[in-house]
């Protein structure tokens, strides 16, 4: 993938570079009869022979720093090269700002590589400067709005450096772009939980927001899951918020048969039964009807699961008798 190999005509092997003539390359010791052998290019072998040599002599020099760049380009997943590079940066007192630029370029090429994001994080920790992190992760998320590495780095930077200020706006935009973006919904919860807080008013606001989004796309698990998340902070639980329950009832009577709606109604029944609300319309019969409808018509792929859930409600019924 990253091995440009022999196609690079301007490339000069380290073994042919006069300024490296004082170094004896160290070949890989893969034993006498290795397995899973990668048929590396000559360039790869050359670079890593010299990398092993400087590692062995613990050489801390500009040329070593340059060599790690070549080594990383050939295999950005080599964590030892990255670690040695960091040790070189410190030993040489290299300008870390230019290193930030460099790793940004590498991230753009390999946005799903663990090592590059780790390198970035260490640099930001050293500099104690997170000015560029929101933009960097924003760019990565433009390419792939669900890139787990980018989200992880973003959450870390936000939490460590308190960068919550404009995060809700960012989340809103992502959800507007794609209401099914589960990562964005998760980030919404993150901002609420760590920054805006779950005051009664905020809970109500988030419920309104989520119900709007569900109205827009009803069969969206991400929004339904978020609604459950918000209701964790409502002391009346899943079943006690009349705005939520009447919304669900209305959807249902308007013929919406999204499995997420129906599952939500089943869970409301479960909660009402557990709370001992005997006269509630959310009872075992209703749950059983919903399970039956899911199993036979609206969510057939989970037919056995819904029958299994129905079993639980049948037990509730027989306990009542």
């Amino acid at each position: 993938m990253s091995d440009s190999g022999d196609s690079d005509i301007t490339w000069i092997f380290y073994k042919d570079r006069p300024e490296w003539s004082d170094v004896t390359p160290v070949p890989e010791n893969d034993g006498s009869k290795p397995v899973v052998v990668i048929a590396h290019s000559e360039k790869f072998e050359d670079v890593y022979d010299y990398f092993r040599a400087i590692l062995q002599t613990n050489e801390k020099s500009e040329r070593a720093l340059h060599l790690t760049k070549d080594a990383v380009e050939l295999n950005p997943a080599n964590y030892t090269v990255w670690q040695y590079r960091r040790d070189l940066l410190q030993a040489l007192g290299t300008d870390l700002r230019s290193e930030l630029d460099y790793v940004e370029a590498v991230i753009k090429q390999s946005p799903k590589n663990y090592q590059v994001w780790h390198h970035r994080r260490v640099l930001v920790e050293w500099l104690q400067d997170s000015n560029l992190e929101l933009e960097l992760t924003h760019d990565a998320l433009l390419q792939d709005p669900k890139n787990y590495h980018a989200w992880q780095h973003r959450q870390w930077a936000i939490k460590t450096f308190g960068l919550f200020e404009k995060e809700m706006e960012f989340v809103d935009n992502l959800i507007t772009d794609d209401v099914r973006n589960n990562s964005a919904w998760n980030q919404r919860y993150f901002v609420m939980n760590n920054h805006l807080g779950w005051s009664d008013m905020n809970v109500q606001k988030e419920i309104c927001y989520t119900l709007e989004k569900i109205k827009f796309v009803k069969n969206n698990e991400s929004a339904w899951n978020y609604l459950r998340g918000v209701l964790l902070h409502d002391s009346k639980g899943l079943s006690g918020n009349t705005e939520v329950t009447s919304f669900c009832e209305e959807l249902y009577s308007n013929k919406c048969r999204s499995p997420y709606l129906m599952a939500f109604l089943i869970d409301i029944c479960d909660e009402a039964i557990k709370k001992g609300e005997i006269n509630s319309s959310y009872n075992a019969e209703k749950a059983l009807d919903l399970c039956q409808a899911l199993a036979t018509k609206y969510d057939k792929i989970r037919c056995k699961y819904w029958n299994f859930i129905a079993e639980k409600f049948r037990k509730y019924q027989s306990n009542q008798d």
């Binding site: 034993g31 092993r52 960091r86 698990e221 899951n225 989970r302």
Partner: protein
């Protein structure tokens, strides 16, 4: 790609596929240079689940075993320090280093875990494994938070390595390097508002990390630390991952590997049988290359050893014929697991 022949297991082709990977790989795979042990694991474990471990000749078997042991990092000669001990993923940094920089040559939890599984599948007796040293290496990698770093030399720490550390401790039958309480707390902190489990606290729930978390709880006998409500909600989150095959997160595309990650999670929670096996199977077979062997994550894309092994392991979980049973926690065959149990007995009798 759904044609008649692609509804059945291309058994012979998959055997050939793995045998090729055990030998030589093209230079296009250079970016896997530091993780060759995992390729060995997927290939050997793949042959094992295919019931074809005997396709590996005695000569090749000893080559693989000798090569793996070459990657075992031993205690530092000068002072016996064991914090770097474990298996390396390849011989790229397999060189003698001075005290000052000996930490660059260090074990990696995922490589140690997959090396041990490979040795078990090959029937090795682990007598050349420096158990005490490896456990000390594991211990050196647990963080304050309770999770584990991959290596001593500058790596991220997350749920994947909690799982690897738990497997290593289980296989070596020694938990002295693994603080179970701390790890359990970490896992519970990673449970999201949707009751799936994430790589780190507050990140998005994910099928792969949920597997790592559940397998760890299972190996440490801590599944009961989840409340009944958490358990039921997690089951719900997991069964909702089925589309035809399985996806790793809500509203993400289906991918062959989640037939294992999510399938094994459901199996550990005793409800895999409530999913739709036929749809699952049909999807996985859509990603099979019937001609040259291998599975890919999506239909008509490139196959790779990881998706090939996990595709087979996922099929094994739902009882596909022609495949050996998989132990969902350790991700090895029952055959390899029984061998491990006999080693445990032997070690116990030696105490």
């Amino acid at each position: 790609m759904i044609n008649e022949e692609n509804k059945e297991l291309a058994h012979r082709q998959h055997v050939k596929y793995f045998m090729r990977f055990l030998n030589i790989l093209p230079s296009s795979l250079s970016s896997h240079d530091s993780t060759r042990v995992t390729i060995a694991y997927f290939s050997v474990a793949g042959l094992d689940v295919l019931g074809s471990i005997t396709s590996i000749s005695i000569e090749l078997r000893s080559r693989i075993i000798d090569w793996l042991y070459l990657l075992q990092v031993q205690p530092r000669k000068s002072d016996g320090d064991m914090s770097t001990c474990g298996f390396q993923g390849s011989s790229t940094i397999n060189i003698e280093l001075d005290n000052a920089n000996s930490h660059y040559r260090c074990g990696h939890l995922a490589m140690t875990y997959t090396a041990l599984c490979t040795l078990l599948a090959l029937g090795d007796d682990l007598s050349r494994v420096n158990r005490k040293a490896i456990i000390n290496g594991v211990k050196a990698l647990q963080t304050e938070e309770g999770n584990f770093s991959a290596t001593l030399s500058g790596c991220e720490s997350d749920m994947r390595f909690v799982y690897c550390a738990a497997c290593i401790s289980y296989i070596l039958n020694d938990w002295s390097g693994f603080n179970v309480e701390k790890a359990t707390d970490y896992i519970i902190k990673c449970m999201g508002y949707d009751y799936g489990i994430a790589q780190c606290p507050e990140l998005e729930s994910h099928g792969g990390t949920t597997y790592c978390a559940l397998a760890t709880l299972s190996l440490t006998n801590r599944l009961d630390k989840l409340s009944e409500y958490q358990m039921d909600s997690l089951r719900r989150w997991l069964v909702f991952r089925q589309v035809d095959g399985f996806q790793g997160r809500p509203n993400k595309p289906v991918d062959t590997c989640y037939s294992f990650w999510v399938g094994a999670s459901l199996k550990m929670l005793d409800i895999l049988h409530l999913t739709n096996y036929n749809s699952n199977k049909r999807y996985v077979y859509e990603t099979q290359d019937y001609v040259v062997g291998g599975f890919s994550k999506w239909p008509d894309t490139c196959t790779d050893p990881m998706h090939t092994y996990l595709g087979l392991a996922g099929l094994s979980l739902i009882g596909e014929s022609g495949l050996l049973e998989i132990v969902p926690t350790l991700n090895i065959t029952r055959r390899a697991y029984d061998h491990l149990k006999s080693l445990h007995q032997k070690w116990d009798s030696e105490l």
